[in-house]
Amino acid sequence: MTKLASLRSALCGATALAAFTLPTVAQEISILSGYPEMTPFYERVAESMKGDYPNLTVNVEPITLREHERRVALGLSSGLEGASVIELSTSTAGRYVQAGLMPAAPADISEFVSDPANFGQFFVDAASYDDTVYGVPLFRGQGALFYNTRMFAEAGLEGAPKTMDEYTDYAEKLTQRDENGNPVVSGWSLRLSGGSQGIAEKWWLILFNHGGTLIDEVSPGKWRAGYANEAGVKALGQYLDNIYDKKTVTIEMPSDAEAFEREQTAMFIRESWVIGDIAAKAPDLEYATAPLPVGSIALPVNLYVAGDGSTEDMQAAWDFAKAANEPENLVWLLENVGWLPNRTGVDFSSVTDEIEAFSAFVDYPEDYTFFTVPSIAVIEDLQTRLAAKLTEAFANPAMQGDDAAIMAFLESAAEETNAILKREGLLAE
């Protein structure tokens, strides 16, 4: 019996088609996802594995991102039961990989990921640590402008704004007001409230397009707040101008994808999943997308495998991560869910040709730049605290138009950011 088992595991290691060695044993893996809209995709991947794994049960367990991150933190620190495929962004996964809580990918998977024909270096690095592959790249969060073409035409605007200044001008022209001058349809929907951290993330994207960044890696592994400067003043100034001077948006107006789908806002910046969401909820909406003036966030999300499952189950989990990257599954993902797959060498033209909106995510200018959220454990604490401060700033009309006051505010916020970095020994002196 033991002999047989070791023979099996040897076979499993040796071949990616390990399933053939175990045709009759029931197998089970769980897929832990933080994006509920990915559920049909994972179910489809599970279906596509039926040929190789006829007895495999796949439990897809999606919950909202925050709760997902919490269950992963608690699960990994105590040891997950069974074999689980865990979907995590590079920035969140980093600390678990560094703490040795995530196993490295087996040889065949590592080979698949490292093959330049499959993934660009950026994505390979994002799934690796110390040159060892730990995860399988899957999709990325990348932002672009979504705008309502009907409203643009009515306002006499052609094409998307091209500079950050134009964003405010456009927003002013696009805002629809009631007889008292209060906006009823916002010109540009900004993230002004909600579950803390997101506010900082969205502001970061605007900041980046003004030439700043939230934290700067001054030397390897050492960071510093990068927003108490001209770019920061412009970014926060732009928010305040839109809220209090141009009055293109208010804090309590409906916002985000939901508002865009209901034509309660003319434009907003978001990731590509909105395309899938619009297709499902507002298929008749007339809209287009455009790249941002300077560049966007690119947040790679990878699939990792952890848990105490049997060798066979663990291998099945890794094969699941690989099967998710099958070209036909990825095309389905792009078309039906809207998240951008990271794999290269796949022909997505059937989708991008048909759905014009994807072009802004795929065909961006040559000099378009990307940034990503650094993989440090305090990044969330840091963003939550900045978000709390930003929320106060957004509610403060007195700061509007007063660059000195904005600068003073940013300096005090940066001080806090640096203090947190210092606490963790990550501050660049």
Binding site: A73, L74, R95, S193, G194, E252, E258, V378
Partner: protein
């Protein structure tokens, strides 16, 4: 001999319950104290002792201080709104005990106290919604201007206070009703013969006589107010189309520090602060009661 046997039975009978208490209550409480003076990141095995550093940091932490202030405002706000309302309401319900609607009064006031928190909070989230909610519809139809209940920092706090009071009211009314039923009727008879009106009797007899009950209900309301969490969580829940302002309260900040920022020791220090507040409030209650007992 007999006493011995009885003692043995008592100990054996108490043992299982006591063991459970030690295991699920006292143990964790002691552990919280222990963790509060340590630094632990949830995934490491290292939990170095760092003395009072967590507490020192807490009192310079703007988020924690915001949470503390918010929680205190909510707790006292709920108390100030609930106690007088409950007393008047209980007085009226007691006065109309023989009304054929008496059962309805009691049930309707009490139901919010027993329904699950989340559905109730969802209902209120809709009511307070700036763009869709009936509250603003009512205000507009009365000629007022709509308010952004869940976004304005003060109104968001107010909304939570209303929600919590709605839930707490039933309990307070019930306790007051018991109080009213136990009041000596002879005193009221005498007052009535002296020509006191119902309002006068309430003002000069009921309120002073019910003082111990007021004290008790106030402390219970305050303490549960300090534990507010689900209400804030749901009212600002991150549904991205219609988010609300995140009202930071103690328990929320604590859970975020423990499970999101991976600072379990720091969160435990917060828990100790919460415990301290509750102990002070309870202590104050006992002190007030004793003072009252002495003055008699």
């Amino acid at each position: 001999m007999l006493r011995r046997r009885r003692f043995r039975f008592a100990i054996l009978a108490l043992l299982p319950t006591f063991a459970i208490f030690a295991w699920v209550r006292m143990g964790p409480i002691v552990q919280t104290m222990n963790l509060s003076v340590r630094d632990w990141d949830l995934i490491g095995t290292n939990r170095p002792f760092i003395g009072l550093a967590n507490f020192v940091e807490l009192f310079g932490d703007s988020l924690f201080l915001t949470a503390l202030v918010n929680t205190a405002i909510i707790a006292f706000g709920v108390m100030l709104l609930t106690i007088p309302t409950a007393m008047v309401l209980a007085g009226l319900i007691h006065y109309r005990t023989r009304s054929r609607f008496a059962g309805f009064y009691e049930t309707s006031v009490f139901i919010p106290h027993v329904v699950s928190l989340v559905p109730a909070a969802m209902a209120w989230k809709w009511i307070f919604d700036a763009k869709l909610g009936p509250l603003n519809a009512l205000i507009v139809s009365l000629g007022g201007s709509p308010q952004s209940w869940l976004f304005d920092p003060n109104l968001a706090l107010f909304s939570i206070i209303v929600l919590c009071s709605w839930q707490a009211l039933g309990y307070a009314v019930l306790i007051y009703l018991v109080g009213f039923r136990n009041l000596p009727t002879s005193v009221y008879e005498a007052a009535r013969l002296d020509g006191a009106s119902g309002i006068q009797a309430f003002r000069f007899l009921s309120i002073p006589l019910l003082k111990p009950i007021t004290l008790y209900v106030s402390v219970v309301t305050l303490v549960s107010g300090f534990n507010v969490y689900a209400q804030a969580f749901v009212l600002a829940s991150d549904s991205q189309g219609a988010p609300g302002r995140q009202v930071r309260v103690l328990v929320l900040d604590m859970l975020e520090n423990a499970f999101r920022n991976y600072r379990v020791g720091y969160a435990a220090a917060e828990a100790m602060v919460l415990l301290l507040i509750v102990l002070i409030l309870t202590g104050a209650q006992f002190a007030l009661l004793r003072e009252k007992g002495n003055s008699k």
